[in-house]
């Protein structure tokens, strides 16, 4: 990934697509393993353009997730800025990892993000659902290579 101009159209389209996927009405049986599309897209852009996309963008996407999920404003802003920080501190190493190891790291990143969200939500009077978010982290890790290929294609097509 050579440092090139940021294709803001690709950024916009990928986030729009992720948001649509996030809101897609799914049967209950698969709902609990729905990957965190927006977080994965965020990680992709953090890795590709760490000089342009950072904690600010994380906050904006976090606000979007807060609005979409109807949670208290700020919960996803907090978790996504944390994700941005984590990814930016290790983006050089991360790019060197083979794809399987990348997925492994994604599992932890999404897991930490969800842990923050769920802990805040249950401490603010929400429903405590235990460790079920680990399934979401797992499916996010599984979908990471697909996201990688898909957005790469998108960037290439829009060049």
């Amino acid at each position: 990934m050579a440092q090139t101009r940021v294709s803001w159209l690709a950024v916009f389209l990928s986030f729009l697509f992720a948001a649509v996927l996030e809101l897609l009405v799914l049967p209950d049986s698969v709902l609990f393993i729905r990957p965190e599309w927006l977080v994965l897209t965020m990680v992709y852009w953090l890795l590709r353009h760490p000089e342009k996309i950072g904690i600010m963008t994380g906050c904006v996407i976090g606000l979007l997730m807060d609005i979409m999920s109807g949670s208290y404003l700020g919960i996803h802003i907090l978790s996504l800025s944390l994700v941005s920080y984590l990814v930016l501190t290790m983006h050089r190493r991360f790019k060197m990892f083979p794809i399987l190891q990348q997925s492994f790291v994604i599992f932890f990143i999404v897991g930490i993000q969800l842990m923050v969200v769920y802990t805040l939500r249950s401490s603010l009077g929400g429903f405590d659902s235990g460790l079920s978010y680990l399934w979401v982290a797992l499916s996010s890790a599984v979908f990471w290579p697909i996201i990688l290929i898909f957005i790469d294609r998108l960037v290439f097509a829009l060049r």
Binding site: L31, F32, I55, M56, C59, G70, G74, Y85
Partner: protein, 296 residues
Amino acid sequence: MKMGSSDKTIFVQGPYLAYRLLLAVVLSMALIIVDVRYSQLDPVRQVLSTAITPVHWLSDLPVNISIGLSNLFTSRDTLEEELDLMRSRMLVLERKAQKLASVTAELNRLRELLNASRIVDEGVVVAEMIGASPDPDNQYIVLDKGMQENVYLGQAVLDSHGLMGQVIEVNEFTSRVLLISDSQHAVPVQINRNGVRAIAYGVGALNFLELGNVPNTSDIKVGDLLVSSGLGGRFPQGYPVASVDSIKHDKSRSFAQIRVLPEAELNRSRLLLLVFNKTAEPLINPPLKSVLNEAK
């Protein structure tokens, strides 16, 4: 790999990154506290929710297209069959409605004798679901009617079988409905058979609710229909909410554990009814205050 650009990435982020994170964390914490404690952020949320309405439409598109396609490829025979079925069903319902009119009139006459307020028929508007909660722990749905259609906060939402939930957020073109199965929701109900009151709590599962604080001795049986009691003033009276599925009497607890099944198809209904509750005015007894004022 150009060295220049990669050097720049280190300097842009290095020392400042932690400060930026700190700033973001402090700001978002402040935002959470303000949103939990006060209602100043509600207009912001409303504007932003209205702004993301197109995303809701887009995510509903695949469902719409599949419905459209299946309509397109339905044969004429099936359609005619369906039409016949609906006609006969309509006849049956119309007959019931005829009876209902006379029964309601009689009921109102009887209530007049008791000096109670008249029962008013509520108006309804049909709305379509365009989105559901992506998160199984938060149970809400998004409807395609909003401020434009005079939807208001706390409005009751039904499907063709029973109570679904209440409106918790109204935007320009959409509204968010909290389902009765959400763990933060409770409905005041009464048993249709004998009028015993209870409260049905959501537990976060779509297929059952629980009745809280029902004494072990109260008269409740499996199969009893629970209707909204209208207490609390939020839901209109008399809509079916759930039916009793199982009752467990545990001697060590002071209350019975009762599991009820929601009547509404919480995870399947797409066409829903928004109930417009006209306030019932007292018939004969004017409010005490105005009587006292006139006496002066």
